[in-house]
Symmetry: none
Subunit: 419 residues, 2 copies
């Protein structure tokens, strides 16, 4: 079975937005053994969509389209697809009712152009959108399939696995082996280093395909086992997971889709521990990530973004002579910040960051990217030093990740020492 | 003149690498008034490259290909293009000499497969590669042009403006219109509302194209004017900008690429004002965005993520009876938070947020998405109430944007009152 991808939107062909859906879809298809033959992007133009779609179907079995499902006049994908196959557009009452309910629930003013999002070509099967207003659809045409889903990446990422893949599996059962998938999330190794550590594993012999996906600053390894027999696929996958685990060890923080903040949240809640944070170079990003988790108020007591020296002294009780002698960016200050916030907030744990995010503020002894993170509990404080090498935004991200990773490993009971 | 883009590489169609060249090339073309009709990605396959290239040339005037120019066996773009037009491959002695010199200079061992990079289809004009080994070429075929340049983004980014554009200008002099562009960033209106407000502007009559780009929670409007005369293009653009400004008014926060945090940073620095932030529902995201700007330490003194009631009372001096009577999520608490952090930090301004990000914690009187943001200066405190309707992450994002927008409008001297 050959797959074509058609991403639709003027914002793509005028270069305003880089298409990230195509590579996401291609990866998901490829991991399941369905080769992508072609990826194409075109503008929101009636005839173009129609013509290109017909062309793609001459040499593929299924075309997955994204984009152009909004309520405004320039979003014409559904109408163009209907026209391409001479099908009338029909109102789907269930979708219309659902749309109107969403509008009512959120106190949005209903305007008639929104009804457009409840119209589908005759014969289409609706694909629900769990995270947005525009539903998608699957349209069987002449033993082939056309899918249309929204182009908003967060919606594409949900609707492809939840809505598109099941239909593909149903229509092309001969292409289907049992597949089972495991994501392994790591931090602390470069992509090349992950690649090198896994080089001696014979994934092919295990019937497992492996993908490496850098999601800055993390590296994710995705293993997919395919076999006609479901139990065998699961067994092969487990073997591959064990091999990978043995080689990546403590750099692994999650088996599955959970992020570091979720893993930490679950541990803190389970152990009934509370946390406070004092940030300098990360500027609030540690607190922001921790509070992305629903229910974080149970364990996250407060976060202080002590950007000025004065705030470090006044709120955290960092002695001014420590800052004068060692600098605000130093092991000593990081330790005092973690201890200070823990004491002030009366929490079990205190986590801190201090560093130079850049691009200015570096010196020969402490260049841009110099970062200290520290973690204090009742008995002791541990501190780690890093020398990052990114731009300001990414230095903040990787410093936040390093602080959270330190906390995660502590909560997992892994040996911690100053570095 | 219509442009097609063909990116070539197995790493693209298996999803391992996201194509960034296409959007780069499209943007450069579009800004020069040369519309990109289509972007296509295919694998390193002889027949595929040949067939798709012919297809693209049926409805475009020039096709720009990237990728597949390396020395290894899987890089076959040059040979496939030659075959597509029945042309022999000829050795270019100047390029061969240059290649061998580069190898000698960098002490690389010369192997014969590298000579492949000095072979070009008969009639091709070589495009020099100032940053890598693989030269590209332009091939005129039947009043059309095919370009082939490397797919390494840093090489594409040099060779497009330096090698491709001059040839395009030479072959299609009549196509050159002057193009000028304006981005207008807004917050506070839905995409549909922006669309509706601008519906009566006749952009076409002004020679201006308009694009709407939702970048949650903002909506960006991009206007592009094209005209053979540069002054006329600028005049038409200004007319369109004026019309849009009149209709979107205070929802506009930026004319250009700057974000809200940059606009605010520039205003605070210019007015020599300092700022502190007290956050509850936004969980550190306000501080994080403000500190994304290099040099923010000049005006951003501290941020407090007062997640617990205790921290609001202890650090910000919010009276406990205010929290008991009105709740932590209330106008009264928001106001006291902004005033409290301003006083504690000794800054000119204090900004606060409190609300229910969800998905839990809502009540009939205060459903999920209830948010208050407040801003205090020496003389007064203003507070705004919002009822958002997103998931937790997006409620945090939109609440942060609302707080920053309030601050931005204040700094612009716009009338502010409680809402």
């Amino acid at each position: 079975m050959k797959i074509g991808i058609l991403t639709i939107g003027n914002e793509l062909i005028n270069g305003r937005i880089a298409d990230t859906n195509s590579s996401f879809i291609a990866r998901e298809m490829n991991l399941r053994g369905w080769p992508v033959e072609i990826m194409m992007s075109v503008g929101d133009d009636f005839d173009t969509i129609k013509t290109r779609l017909h062309y793609l179907l001459t040499f593929t079995d299924a075309v997955i389209c994204t984009g152009g499902l909004g309520p405004t006049a320039d979003d014409i994908t559904t109408a163009a697809v209907a026209k391409a196959f001479g099908l009338p557009l029909l109102m789907n009452d269930a979708v219309l009712t659902d749309l109107k309910e969403k509008f009512a629930r959120y106190h949005l003013r209903w305007t008639d152009n929104n009804a457009k999002q409840a119209m589908f070509p005759q014969g289409a099967q609706v694909i629900a959108n769990p995270v947005g207003s525009a539903a998608g659809f699957a349209l069987p045409v002449k033993n082939k399939l056309v899918f249309v889903i929204p182009g908003v990446p967060s919606e594409t990422r949900r609707m492809l696995p939840e809505g598109v893949l099941p239909v593909l599996h149903r229509y092309f059962p001969q292409a289907v082996a049992h597949t089972t998938k495991q994501t392994i999330k790591t931090f602390g190794l470069s992509e090349a280093a992950v690649d090198e550590r896994l080089a001696d594993i014979h994934f092919g012999a295990l019937g497992v395909s492996v993908g490496f996906y850098p999601v800055f600053p993390e590296n994710h390894v995705v293993l997919i086992a395919s076999d006609p027999d479901a139990a065998q696929a699961q067994k092969n996958l487990q073997k591959a997971v064990d091999e990978v685990s043995a080689r990546l060890g403590d750099c692994i923080f999650s088996y599955g889709e959970s992020g570091l903040e979720e893993m930490i949240g679950a541990s803190l809640a389970e152990k009934k521990l509370t946390l406070s944070v004092a940030e300098s170079c990360t500027g609030g990003l540690i607190a922001n990530r921790l509070t992305d988790i629903s229910g974080s108020s149970v364990y996250f007591e407060r976060g202080l973004v002590t950007y000025s020296n004065e705030s470090k002294i006044q709120l955290l009780g960092v002695p001014s002579d420590i800052i004068e002698k060692h600098g605000a960016v130093s092991k000593e200050t990081a330790r005092r910040m973690a201890e200070g916030v823990r004491k002030l907030a009366g929490t079990d744990l205190g986590l801190s960051s201090t560093g130079i995010a850049g691009p200015t503020g570096g010196s020969p002894e402490k260049p841009v990217g110099t970062v200290y993170v520290a973690l204090a509990d009742t008995n002791r404080t541990i501190c780690r030093h890093f020398a990052f090498r990114w731009d300001r935004i990414r230095n903040k991200q990787v410093s936040t990740e390093a602080a959270l990773m330190m906390l995660h490993q502590y909560l997992q009971g892994k040996t911690q020492h100053d570095e």
